[in-house]
């Protein structure tokens, strides 16, 4: 009976558990972020997305790290040094710890979420500067829905979607916790498109991103787009976004350490 149960679980496990077939340890993607200034797309920062491995006494986790740093010529005007991290399961990409450390000009903010998937809750720690420049901590325990992720692991989850099985117009929703608020990101498969990138001409899945009941992403379905290469690595090669303070784009510069 036990053996039968084991065989059943083994056969159905790909259906029950989402498997990571896309993200490798040691992957490094580098992007150029541009912002539209008076009609001219101006390169302002470099964005890196890296993966690594972190071992604890009882588990080995995948470390997803995103950094953003302004180019030196802009540092005098508006210096950005942002760090976004997520520690996830290497197979299912389920997040366990999320950290966001942002330094933008004189603005500083640190957010930390520790996920408890058994109780569907998140322990949140916010560190911020007050008016006097003193740093203060604020902790909270938040109830989340089952399957809610942080923003970094959501990006990697989008890459891990089986887009090759999807039909044009198909939509997948992700519950994301950001700034202690849960929101729903919808990812819609628009079409396949071939675009020229710094890593060559690539056939891509064109995805439209939108947020439910939020004003962070502005515009229609053609204003917030993500292009993932239509291969097993699903590398994000181009993204364009429209936010309340303007619009910009991300273009890939290099991609190394890919899984496939």
């Amino acid at each position: 009976m036990k053996q039968l149960l084991f065989i059943i679980v083994l056969n159905f496990s790909p259906v029950l558990f989402a498997q990571n077939n896309t993200i490798a340890v040691g992957e490094k993607l580098s992007f150029t972020a541009s912002y539209n200034m008076s009609g001219l797309m101006t390169e302002i920062a470099q964005v890196n997305m890296e993966t690594g491995q972190v071992k604890t006494s009882n588990a080995t986790l995948l470390h997803l790290k995103c950094t953003a740093a302004t180019y030196s010529k802009w540092d005098g005007f508006f210096k950005i040094r942002d760090l976004y991290e997520s520690y996830v399961s290497p197979t299912s990409l389920t997040p366990y710890l999320y950290k966001r450390d942002i330094n933008e000009g004189s603005y500083y903010k640190f957010m930390q979420y520790t996920f408890s998937h058994k109780t569907n809750s998140v322990k949140s720690l916010m560190r911020k500067k007050n008016g006097k420049g003193e740093i203060f901590d604020k902790t909270a325990t938040l109830k989340i829905n089952s399957g809610t992720k942080d923003i970094v692991s959501t990006i990697y989850h989008i890459r891990n979607l089986d887009i090759h099985k999807a039909k044009i117009g198909d939509v997948k929703s992700f519950k994301v916790i950001f700034d202690n608020e849960e929101m729903v990101i919808n990812v819609k498969y628009i079409s396949k498109e071939t675009i020229a990138t710094a890593i060559g001409k690539k056939e891509c899945y064109k995805l439209a991103l939108s947020l439910n009941n939020k004003d962070i992403l502005k515009g229609g379905s053609n204003d917030n787009l993500l292009y993932l290469t239509a291969d097993a690595n699903k590398v994000p090669v181009y993204a364009k976004f429209k936010i309340p303070v303007g619009n910009g784009e991300l273009k890939i510069k290099s991609a190394t350490g890919l899984k496939n």
Binding site: T32, L40, T67, D162, N186
Partner: protein, 133 residues
Amino acid sequence: MRQLFIVLGLIASILALVMAVTPLSQFAYLPALSALIFGFAAFYISKRKQMPKKTVQLIFLLTIISLVLTTYKSIFNTAEVGNLEELELKEEASIEDSKEILEQLDIDNVDIDNGTTELETEDFQDIQDLEDQ
């Protein structure tokens, strides 16, 4: 009229020169172009009325310098990330801190996830609304 063009030309050419030396150099083309237009207009009027053209020449000189500088910067300057030492130190410290936090977490069921990786055919009202806009 000649004086107006000279004043506008001077302002535009100085603005172009200032922008050319800052990171906003790619925007310097706009005032430089305006300075050239005002300069030519002032030059034409000066020539017709047989008046001195020294200030007009100054406008052209400033504009040419700003254009040369902007073009040079757009061709030869590559975007480089500034000092990342602080960020790298922060990353290292964060990993050590994270390890301590993760040790305290219950991550026995590390691979259990209720998410599916397949996209679904669903009609989302919000997306429909966005498309209609």
